[in-house]
Structure formats: structure tokens, C-alpha cells
Amino acid sequence: MANPRSPGTETSAPLRVSGGVFTLSILHLESNNPQQLAQRIAEEHQRHPAAADFHRHAPVVLDLSAIPEEAPLALTEILNVLRAADWFPVGLRNAAPRHQALAQDLNLPVLRGQDRNAAPQPETPAPAQSVSTSPGGLTIDHPIRGGQRSYARGGDLVCLAAVNAGAEVIADGNIHVYGPLRGRALAGVNGQDSARIFCMSLEAELISVAGLYRILESDHPLWGKAAQIYSRDEQLHITALTL
């Protein structure tokens, strides 16, 4: 029987290495105390289960700008706290040279990405996903149910029906929801911070633009109203959609 050539035995093709831009969450470390960090995360996740969900398996960069150079840093323990909370720490930034050395000992990359517009680039072997910039998109005309997730890769997501509680709509571009938005909506997930979310009735569990996120409760002044959500100056803004 003729065996098809197994791709692993090919010798001529060069390794495929390409560039990519990634949006990563940045966690601003408040102190060098791992216990305190654990407690803060537990509190946040208890208060907002949707945030816990959002963080689960999310790559995160630790920002150390609040940690003075001379402070001792129990980095291993801090990483363990994050992993126990289901986060994937992938690097450090704004770390003092002493702390950078600690990271190197742990094979943890020190990232230079300074702010959100130049998203940090992890040196960990993340899948080299090429971001399609085609104006592709996704139009959905039926309700998106709890447990379902729809992703518009490289474009906008338009939902003409409800996005129900427990459902997730994700887009590299904008998100438009013409039924009630009751689930989670994540726009600009590839770092496009000009992305926006538009909805006719804001009842969302969580909204996010380019990695910034916010949990909503029914006491929000725009709850049940037509609204748009966008990011400016590292802040999410929710405003009424008045036409």
C-alpha cells in the first residue's frame, strides 16, 4: 500500500514563523503579597461570576509598575495564585531589573508592550494566527441560546434576534444586537479598540471591547435601553443610543 508522505518527514520546507498581534489582559499587581492577590481575585470572582468566566484560561500579563525595585517578590507564589484561579500568566511588564531577573529564571517572558495601542507580543509560542482583515462578518437571524457562542472572525457580528443569558457573541469588529442583549458580548477581541457594541436593549452579563471588560447589573441607568459601548482612554464607556 502506498503510504502518503507524512508531513513530519519533509525536510525542504523552512519553519513557518510569522508575526501576530494579540490582545492580552493586563493585571496590575497591587502589592507583592501573594495571599492578598488570592483574596482579591476570590472576592472579585465571587461578586461577579461572569468575570470569573471571562478570566478562565485567559492569558494575562502582570504589570509590576506598582512594585518598588527594592521590594522582595515571591514570583513563583504569585504565578501559582494566578494559575489556581485558572488564569494563564504569560509575561511581565514594567518590572524592575531585579524582578526581570526573577522572571528569566522562571522562563517567563518580560514584555515590552507599553500600552494598549501597541499590544504586547508574547514570546511564548502562541499559535501564529493570522488575523483576517477581510470585511467578513456574521449575520445571525435566530436567538443565540445559553451555552452557545458565535464568533465573527475578522469582521462584525450582527444578531437580528436575542442573545440570551449565558450566550456569548464575539467579534474581531463591532457587535450589533437587535434583540435584547442578555448574555456576554466581546467586541474587538483581536485588539481593535475602535470596535463598538450596539444593542437595542442592554441587559448584558458582561461587555468587553478590546480586552477591557465590565460586568453589568440591572441597576445600570441604561439597563433595558438602546445603548452603545466603546473604549476610550483605557476606559469602557456606555452611552444611550439616541438616533
Partner: protein, 269 residues
């Protein structure tokens, strides 16, 4: 070729088995050759509700494992000429239900019957997935409370994604919402979600509303499908459901609290 209908819900104890028995009986009363299958392996409730538990010799699992022929496992209902029950096993575990086995059983039943009604177990695991996989239509049984509505939403999503029709890119499974254990009085008191609330949350065409009633308990204790309980609200409500399913128009009933008359109040009911 038979039409396959799954009675499903996600959440447990909402009235799937009660509905499967009543609905299948109603189709048979209308003259359709109908079989109702218990997919709740390990619990085996349907035969009790249908009142045929003492006639169970072979079951669905025996058929799937090749230990019995389908004809040997089908139990003829004692009330309806055209109705058969395919019970499940109480002793086997859920893994005994293989997808190849279920497909073979469905293929054989399809040629013999007009309707195949599948009583799904609760949950969203393999048993529930097996029960809904072959469905052409789904009746999603929901109680007027938030957790039941959430689970129904979830199962509607699964129907749209994991059924045979979805996998093969055919016309999607036709969805029906059935609100059961509806107590207009408690809705008025704000203890339960209203019909409007549930419709607004799920946005699925409503097949009917079955009121909360102690007649259900009497029926299940006697092994009589609720649709046979003469002069009861639930029997009437289930007959309406069957009629609507068959395309007839029926106004909704039993959705307003019963007004107690002046004399009844005066002299006690």
C-alpha cells in the same frame, strides 16, 4: 415515514414523562400509529405512567444489545389501539445506549409508525443528546421559573447545534414551547414567571399551557396518562396541545385564575 418528536427540557422534574405519555396517547386517539420511547435509562418512569410496568419483559437496551427483537419489546397500550410503549431498562447504566443502536431502532420504527415520541432524561449529557439526536420536532417542556427557562434555552441551543438535522445541514428541528405546571394564581401573586415572561425570554412558538393540577398525581398513581382523566383541566389542555400540534387552531385556556363565584364564596366550595 414517521415523524420523530422529542420531549425535552434540560431541567429535571418539569413534566416531560407526564407530557410524553399524554401527548403520545393523544396522537393515538386521533388515529395515528404512535410509539413512545423511554430514554431515561436507569430510572424507567414511562411504563409506570403508562400503567404497563408489569408487562415489561424486554426493553430498549435489550433490543440495542441484540438480546431481543424490537417486536418483543414493544408493549401494546391497553387504552389506545394505535399506541405502543418501548420501555427502558432500570438495571443497565446509561452507556448501554449507543448511538448506532438508537439509530438502528429508529430506522426500524420509522417504517412502522406515524409518530415516534421520545421521552428524554433530564440534563444535557449523552442520554438527553441520544433522545434529541433524531428529532424532527421538539417539545421543550418548561415550568414558569427562572432555572427551568434557562435550561430550556440551553436545550434549544443544543437542538440547533447537535441534532442530526443540524449536523447534516437539513431544515432545523421544529421547536415548540410547552409551559407546564402553570398556576395562574401564583403568577398573579408574582411568585412565578408569567406566560408573557417565558415567551419573551425564550421566543419559541407556544404549543400550549398545562395548568398545575393534583389530577396529575392521581393519574400517575393509577398509571393512566393524564389525557384520559375525563373532565379535568389537564386532559383538556393536553387535547388542545395535540390539536395544535396537528395544525388546528385552539385558543389558550387555563391561563387565568379561576374566579370563585359569589354563592360559592358565600357557602364554601
Amino acid at each position: 415515514m414517521a415523524k420523530i418528536i422529542v420531549i425535552t427540557s434540560g431541567k429535571g422534574g418539569v413534566g416531560k414523562t407526564t407530557t410524553s405519555a399524554a401527548f403520545a396517547s393523544g396522537l393515538a386517539l386521533r388515529g395515528y400509529r404512535t410509539v413512545v420511547i423511554d430514554f431515561d435509562v436507569g430510572l424507567r418512569n414511562l411504563d409506570l405512567i403508562m400503567g404497563c410496568e408489569r408487562r415489561v419483559v424486554y426493553d430498549l437496551i435489550n433490543v440495542i444489545q441484540g438480546e431481543a427483537k424490537l417486536q418483543q419489546a414493544l408493549i401494546k397500550d391497553k387504552r389506545c389501539e394505535n399506541l405502543y410503549v418501548l420501555p427502558t431498562s432500570q438495571t443497565r447504566d446509561k452507556d448501554a445506549l449507543t448511538s448506532e443502536g438508537v439509530t438502528a431502532v429508529m430506522d426500524e420504527l420509522r417504517t412502522e409508525f406515524d409518530y415516534i415520541v421520545c421521552d428524554s432524561p433530564a440534563g444535557i449529557e449523552s442520554g438527553a443528546l441520544m433522545a434529541l439526536y433524531h428529532a424532527d420536532e421538539a417539545i421543550v417542556v418548561t415550568n414558569p421559573e427562572v432555572s427551568s427557562v434557562r435550561d430550556s434555552d440551553r436545550i434549544l441551543g443544543i437542538l440547533a447545534a447537535r441534532s442530526r438535522r443540524a449536523e447534516q445541514g437539513e431544515e432545523p428541528v421544529k421547536e415548540h414551547l410547552l409551559l407546564t405546571r402553570y398556576s395562574p394564581k401564583r403568577v398573579e401573586g408574582g411568585e412565578m414567571l408569567s406566560l408573557q415572561d417565558v415567551k419573551e425570554l425564550l421566543r419559541t412558538p407556544l404549543l400550549g399551557v398545562i395548568p398545575e393540577s393534583e389530577v396529575i398525581l392521581q393519574a400517575s398513581n393509577q398509571g393512566i396518562p393524564a389525557i384520559h382523566m375525563e373532565n379535568s383541566d389537564v386532559a383538556e389542555a393536553y387535547k388542545d396541545v395535540v390539536a395544535r400540534f396537528l395544525g388546528e387552531e385552539r385558543p389558550l385556556r387555563f391561563i387565568h385564575p379561576v374566579k370563585v363565584g359569589f354563592f360559592k364564596r358565600l357557602f364554601g366550595g
